[in-house]
Amino acid sequence: MNIKIENLKKSYGSLEVLEDVTFSLEESCITLIIGPSGCGKTTILNIISGISQADSGSIIGIEGRKFSYCFQEPRLLGWLSAEDNLRFALGSLLQSSSRICDIELRIERFLQEAGLWEFRKFKPSQLSGGMQKRLALARAFAFPADMLLLDEAFSEVDLRKKIELMEDFLHLWKDEKPTVVIVTHDIHDALYLADKVIVLSQRPARVEGTIQIDIPHEKRTFTSSELYGYEMELYRLLGFDRTI
């Protein structure tokens, strides 16, 4: 079932963050919310996940869903090894009916898929910045959830590392295909990953437009001419077509 987000409004005191935001999220698709820095993207993510409440508006189809999260910074426990970081995040499964061996298998599977199995005993400070982000992605995917929320998870790395990270992300995503919502301010993320792009305006945010990208992920490269049209449309919706 798709999720409908309708007429979300949110203010922090006198600061109006979300003016009137309406869009939908398709099941097992990657929806990307793009907009200028500080326009309220993370606020939308927090409202979807229930961390904060909207002043008005509704979200339909979200009830009973389990969320996983990948933050802008990796948020790893520096004194635990890579595998122990995953074990920590999966700690709640021990209280449910999950068996320890199932949890261990899950940890192994996602570390393998993220290419970190050899580094499972390494502590975060012994891993490169890109590997730490991959570990945070592996943790987000390893946590059993039907919705995955990513907050600027591909930022703060150079373009080559970003592409590697996005490829790892797609590799992990294709396994169980959870519904994904990514917020970013980077057009590269949108072109490479999104099935659907929601473009937000400056704060207070409203939806400037929606773009459906129908090219399969495996055919997308930054040099492919097919993406050019989408790129131009994104620039237009973000207001970069106007002369400075």
């Binding site: 969320f67 122990d84 012994q126 910045g129 590997m131």
Partner: protein, 256 residues
């Protein structure tokens, strides 16, 4: 290199002491380092000296363990629960402000001589441990806590894997300070309450016999024991820190 400077510092201190003793020209007021060393050597030949060291050490150990355990427990609770913090704060502030001597004198009405130093040291060292632990629990990275909440990590796991390792440097630093304080207060308590087999009792007896040199010798041995125990605890604390935390940049084998 730093050891060389440490040695230079000690030699300079002894030199100033020696010059002071030459200028004062009275062993009754300021005995020279050599005289004190001789007195220390003479003391070490007596059984009571070693029994006094043992007695004081056991009192310090008892006070240190009890104050650390109580301070750790209350510090963790008040670090997590603001209500507990508000409840305990007036007590801790009052204990911190209480003069050591006043505490020892009151304790002498309540306890037998051998318990006075221990009780006084517990009350003086407890606030140090409590405050450090509480600060450590507060210092936990809020973003990591938010991550734990997001993944619904059980609170027991959050405590053992996140809160405790985050607070560990604060706890160890508090414990080290509590150890030093325990030595000082135990010996001060012994000076006043004069239990059997105690460094402070030896010091007081030497003072009553107007043996300044012997008082200095007892003081020197107290300083050495306090410094040694703090050093050994420091080694233990460093080992624990390395085990729990990946902290130093030198250990960073960045693969990037």
């Amino acid at each position: 290199m730093l050891l060389r400077w440490q040695l230079l510092g000690i030699i300079s201190f002894l030199l100033i002491w020696e010059i002071g003793a030459i200028l004062v020209k009275s062993d009754l007021i300021l005995p020279s380092p050599a005289r004190v060393a001789t007195a220390l050597y003479m003391l070490s030949g007596k059984n009571t000296f070693w029994l006094s060291i043992g007695g004081s050490f056991l009192r310090v150990l008892e006070a240190f363990i009890l104050s650390t355990l109580i301070g750790l427990a209350t510090g963790i609770i008040s670090g997590i629960k603001p209500q507990a913090r508000a409840f305990l704060n007036p007590l801790v502030v009052a204990m911190r402000a209480t003069p050591v001597m006043a505490l020892i004198l009151v304790a002498m009405f309540w306890f037998p001589a051998w318990q006075v130093p221990v009780f006084s040291a517990i009350l003086m060292a407890f606030p140090v441990m409590h405050t450090s632990t509480e600060a450590g629990v507060h210092a936990v990275d809020q973003k990591l806590l938010q991550m734990s909440n997001f993944f619904h990590v059980p609170s027991s796991l959050v405590f053992w894997r996140l809160r405790l390792p985050s607070a560990l440097p604060y706890i160890l630093s508090g414990a080290k300070n509590a150890l030093g304080l325990s030595w000082k207060v135990v010996v001060a308590g012994e000076v006043l309450s004069q239990p059997r087999m105690a460094l402070g009792t030896g010091m007081q007896e030497a003072r009553l016999s107007i043996e300044t040199t012997t008082v200095f010798a007892w003081a020197i041995i107290t300083i050495l024991l306090c410094g040694l125990s703090e050093y050994l605890f420091g080694l233990l604390a460093d080992g624990l820190s390395v085990r729990f935390r990946q902290s130093s940049q030198e250990e960073n084998q960045d693969l990037g």
